[in-house]
């Protein structure tokens, strides 16, 4: 009896545990039961994960579609992503405790569970099934805001996510057709290294799958769903959304396409271009969404570099960024809850009444800037070194630029606009205790990993490489100095942008001495470029709206009831059609 139970636990995908908890969650009322499930679900999932029997083998299979599906398979690559997701689910759960909304809590956990289940999927079909489930469950978190704007954004989000799923299944079908393979993580014996680059890009269908992953990873030109949907979700929804979808895509890319050169360039572009939008954005949750894309770019780059160092870098960065992006979104969620807005031009000076939230936002900001002794430093160093060793000079510079810019658009700008800066007279309450607790836990992770990186490095896919790096490269003086220089330049960029009024709002008392004038050129070019990009985006959006409107008008003209093809068809016309069809069939029959 006990043994059957134990074997059942060790062969159940932790994602399914969390999904079951999510279904129960829908019906939970009252603080204590909700807290028990919201925290208990992830804890149970963690227990299931840790009690899993063996790595690198199929722990649960299922026969369907004439194939053997592998529902649960762990190796060192999926383990660290799964762990990050479980931690994020627990933090998100605690963060949501203050408001009772069974639908949001339940779908949030279902979403997290589906993402975790997808991480441990052993084949492409299982991956696809949970891939689609993440799309369907997560859209509810956007719709839960219950505004027409959120509804429209959610629908757009859903369509893009479902398209990604369709591309994935079409790619998987083609790939299976051509190679007979459906296995996503074909692995060696127990305990050996994880299999990466599982998909050969030359095979049919591989491109479709790459694009499917790319859509979820917010590749350039496919990124618009992210900054469209995330800021439109509820204050708790954005936190949960930010954690899973994109990291799942990074996992899938690392598993399928690690070492694909194209990804290096895609990642570099992805790291750089959102910087301008983030610098100039006004809605701080939108700024963070762009920052998230930029961080994802660095991860994609690491995946593209591939090799042990690259995959380690992507995994470590994904782990750390899941937590610090959640921390940043949580601090903005608290502001959203207390003031009803996160527009930089409407808030400011909130540190007087929200001191703890301010502190946590600063910690989150420091982590994204990779200040030494934060998890960002421990994680991003790996990526930067991987790219550096690879000898990709321009890419390395691009990532450096993105890292410095993060200092300006997030580390300084977010706390400054929301909590310091111009006092707009708002005196909101401090965030509720559960929010502070969730942020506190996330902050402990950020600093804890930063102080003792060994903890994280031990869990990385290639443990020996990681520990070797830790012992020889991480804490070298040159590395530390480089990092501090980066921080200073980032701060400088911020100050200059502020000085030349390129930010949406200005604050008196930020004047800069003229001796800095020789540095003007660079930031003004950056600013001009940003402004140009901004206006390009606006023009693009306007044209798209116009074209879209015209297409829609035509469609309505053609398809709406009582118009065009949808008029109630008089029976004579159907009869004529049938005569016509008969003639056509006779014609092809008799010639």
């Amino acid at each position: 009896m006990l043994e059957t139970a134990a074997s059942l636990v060790s062969t159940t995908n932790p994602g399914l545990v969390l999904m079951a908890a999510g279904i129960i969650m829908v019906f939970m009322r009252g603080f204590a039961p909700r807290a028990a499930v919201l925290v208990g679900g992830p804890v149970l999932a963690l227990a299931t994960l840790l009690s899993s029997g063996a790595w690198g083998v199929d722990l649960a299979t299922f026969d369907a579609f004439g194939l053997t599906l592998s529902l649960y398979r762990i190796d060192s690559l999926s383990f660290i992503f799964g762990l990050a997701f479980i931690i994020a689910a627990a933090i998100g759960g605690i963060y949501s405790l203050h408001r009772e909304d069974g639908v949001q809590d339940g779908t949030g956990m279902l979403y997290a569970g589906a993402a975790i289940a997808a991480i441990f999927a052993g084949d492409l079909i299982t991956l696809f099934i949970f891939w689609e489930l993440t799309a369907i469950t997560s859209v509810v978190l956007i719709w839960a805001r219950r505004t027409p704007r959120a509804y429209a954004a959610g629908l757009r989000y859903l369509i893009i996510q479902m398209t990604s799923g369709l591309l994935l299944i079409a790619g998987a079908a083609l790939y299976h057709n051509a190679t007979g393979l459906i296995v996503f993580s074909e692995m060696g014996a127990v305990g050996e290294l994880p299999v990466v680059s599982a998909i050969d890009i030359a095979e049919p269908g591989a491109w479709l799958m790459l694009i499917a992953f790319g859509v979820k990873a917010a590749f350039p030109l496919a990124h618009s769903w992210l900054q469209d949907a995330y800021p439109n979700s509820t204050e708790t929804g954005t936190v949960i959304l930010s954690a899973f979808t994109t990291k799942l895509a990074i996992y899938a890319l690392a598993r399928g396409f690690a070492g694909l050169d194209l990804l290096i360039w895609v990642g570099a572009i992805m790291a750089v271009f959102p910087v301008f939008f983030a610098l100039l954005g006004n809605d701080l949750r939108r700024v963070l969404s762009y920052a998230l894309i930029s961080q994802m770019g660095i991860m994609v780059c690491a995946v593209g570099v591939g090799g042990e160092l690259g995959v380690n870098g992507a995994a470590a960065h994904a782990f750390a960024s899941t937590i610090y992006m959640a921390l940043l979104f949580m601090s903005m969620g608290a502001v959203m809850l207390r003031t009803g807005t996160t527009k930089a031009s409407e808030i400011g000076g909130l540190h007087r009444t929200m001191p703890y939230t301010t502190l946590f936002a600063i910690i989150g900001g420091a982590t994204i800037a990779s200040v030494p002794l934060t998890s960002g430093f421990a994680a991003k160093s790996l990526t930067m070194s991987a790219v550096g060793y690879d000898g990709q000079m321009w890419v390395w510079l691009a990532l450096l630029f993105a890292a410095a810019a993060a200092v300006a658009h997030t580390t300084i700008k977010v706390p400054l606009s929301a909590f310091f800066g111009e006092d707009r007279g708002r005196r909101p309450e401090e965030a509720p205790f559960n929010m502070l607790l969730a942020m506190g836990i996330a902050a402990v992770f950020c600093i804890g990993i930063g102080v003792t990186p060994r903890w994280l490095y031990e869990l990385l896919p290639y443990r020996d490489t990681a520990l070797d790096y830790l012992n020889h490269d991480l804490w070298t003086p040159t590395h530390l100095v480089t990092q501090f220089q980066l921080l200073v330049f980032g701060a400088l960029a911020f100050v200059l942008l502020r000085r030349y009024a390129l930010y949406p709002e200005t604050t008196p008392g930020m004047l800069i001495d003229s001796e800095w004038a020789w540095r003007r050129a660079a930031p003004s070019i950056a600013g001009a470029l940003g402004a140009a990009l901004m206006s390009f985006e606006r023009a693009f959006a306007r044209t798209a709206r116009q074209v879209g409107g015209r297409i829609k008008e035509h469609l309505v003209q053609t398809f709406a009831p009582a118009r065009g093809v949808s008029r109630r068809v008089p029976l004579s016309s159907t009869a004529i059609w049938s005569a016509f069809l008969l003639a056509a069939v006779l014609l092809i029959a008799l010639i």
Partner: protein, 507 residues
């Protein structure tokens, strides 16, 4: 694997005559229902008769699994002089589908008729329903081409009357029924003309005999003309684009029970006959079948899948959205069948089954709240999911199946469709399915938004739950949709066997 050969549910005497009893049961019960004292009695008769048919269908399935093909000579007159019923895996599959859907619809009718039909008309309504069922079952089990026409007419006459009854809720049911009457007659006439051509060419009406004689008549103009007439006539009955003009109105304005039953069965029986004629009666490798599939059926089905999905997006009435979506889904089935390989036909039949389950559930859920919703427009259903979650959750699940969301049957069948099309290198058809799936996201999203995210109506307009009598059949369908989505081996086995039977004759 599932073993049907050990499926014995009825005593041997009954099993021997199961093919006849399958059709005879509802036919006789239809008279009993017409004569019964009140609607309640008629309902019980109706349910028992369709349950009896389902029982006989199960018995037949066991026989088919053991024997391959059953030929049952009516009244002991052997073909070619007598009329025979001839049931293979394809016939057994449709007997199971039609009778089980009828049983569920009949269970639901107790509530549905009370809500919509005047007491005095309920007995006749049930009689018509049983007549329609007997006709459909006859169509799919007879082995005689002309006999199929007779059953086609029996089922159609029942349907015309029952659509017209919808006039008490929606006056537009009358013109819709009239339209369907005219067009249905045109279709049936085309069919019977085609059968006449075949008789002239081959000198027999028995399908098995036709199948053995037609390959020798490859060059016969009469046989080719017969094929054209039969396909277009059946295409009309099956709502093949662009001959679907009658369907949206017929579905939208009929009483709820007929929405459920028609959407699950009526067009399907016509699809059955098309498959039977195209691949079994006519040799599937003959030039005319091949040309018809590639140059007529596949393109029209592709256009249907895209155009009708788009039309569904712009509809304002809930039932019309679903009706247009039905035409699009028939397009999917025909697209798969037009691929004309074993995998394609199996996938088409599988999708047909999935579609029957989900559309019946969707219409059932809408019919379930019909007591408290007076209007027909989408906006009249605002917030129904909030005040009537037990009725509308099945609606949501069924619409997920419509989208092809994993863990529902719709996903399984869509996967099989795509696989079959890839296997035969019909890449454009895969693209059509993909585009149509994205289009369906719009109209499904719109329905779900209205039902679940709009503020609920309060006070006198508050939408109430359907009564238990409607909820039980609704949930049976919903559980089946999920069950077969997770473990679809049974239906897959039946569909694969049906495709083999129709392509290879006797196994």
């Amino acid at each position: 694997m599932i073993d049907f050969t050990s499926l014995i549910v009825a005593p041997p005497e009954l099993t021997r005559h199961a093919a006849a009893l399958l059709v005879l049961g509802p036919l006789v019960a239809s008279c009993a229902a017409a004569l019964s004292p009140n609607g309640r009695w008629a309902w019980i008769i109706s349910f028992l008769a369709s349950a009896f048919s389902f029982w006989m269908a199960l018995a037949l399935t066991g026989e088919v699994a053991r024997e391959g093909v059953i030929v049952y000579a009516m009244g002991g007159f052997e073909p070619p002089y007598g009329i025979s019923f001839r049931i293979d895996w394809l016939g057994a599959m449709f007997a199971l589908l039609l009778s089980s859907m009828a049983m569920i619809a009949a269970a639901y009718s107790g509530y549905s008729l009370n809500a919509e039909i005047l007491e005095g008309k309920r007995t006749l309504f049930q009689a018509g329903f049983l007549l329609c069922l007997a006709g459909l079952l006859g169509m799919t089990s007879t082995g005689d081409a002309f006999n199929a026409f007779v059953f086609l007419e029996i089922s159609s006459i029942g349907t015309y009357a029952l659509i017209g009854v919808g006039a008490s809720r929606d006056r537009r049911a009358l013109p819709a029924a009239f339209n369907y009457l005219i067009l249905g007659t045109v279709g049936a006439t085309f069919y019977v003309i085609g059968v006449g051509f075949l008789y002239a060419a081959a000198g027999t009406l028995n399908m098995a005999d036709l199948a053995s004689r037609l390959p020798a008549l490859e060059e016969s103009r009469a046989a080719e003309a017969g094929f054209a007439f039969i396909m277009v006539g059946l295409g009309l009955k099956a709502a093949m684009f662009p001959l679907h003009g009658w369907l949206p109105s017929a579905y939208a304005h009929a009483p709820s029970l007929m929405n459920v039953f028609l959407s699950a069965t009526a067009t399907k029986a016509a699809v059955y006959l098309m498959v039977r004629f195209a691949f079994d009666v006519f040799p599937p490798d003959s030039i005319i079948v091949e040309r018809f599939m590639i140059w007529v059926m596949a393109p029209l089905a592709g256009v249907a899948a895209i155009v009708c999905s788009t039309q569904a997006i712009f509809q304002t009435e809930l039932r019309r959205i679903l009706a247009f979506s039905s035409v699009a889904q028939v397009g999917y089935m025909m697209l798969a069948i037009a691929v004309a390989s074993g995998a394609g036909i199996a996938a088409g039949l599988l999708h047909l089954t999935a579609h029957a389950l989900m559309k019946a559930a969707l219409f059932m859920a809408i019919g379930g709240v019909t007591l408290s919703v007076t209007g027909l427009r989408l906006s009249d259903f605002n917030g129904a999911g909030r005040t009537a979650p037990w009725t509308m959750t099945p609606f949501a699940i069924a619409s997920f199946s419509l989208l092809g969301v994993p863990l529902t049957m719709g996903f399984l069948t869509k996967w099989r469709l795509i696989e079959a099309m890839l296997g035969d290198a019909y890449y454009w058809a895969v693209a059509v399915i993909a585009i149509s799936s994205i289009l369906s996201l719009f109209y499904v999203g719109r329905m779900l938004e209205v039902l679940f995210f709009q503020p609920a109506q309060t006070g006198k307009n508050r939408i109430r739950e359907a009564p238990l009598g409607a909820l039980i059949p609704l949930w049976v369908l919903t559980v089946a949709t999920i069950w077969f989505g997770i473990d679809g081996r049974m239906v897959e086995y039946i569909a694969d066997s049906a495709a083999t039977a129709v392509l290879g004759g006797v196994e």
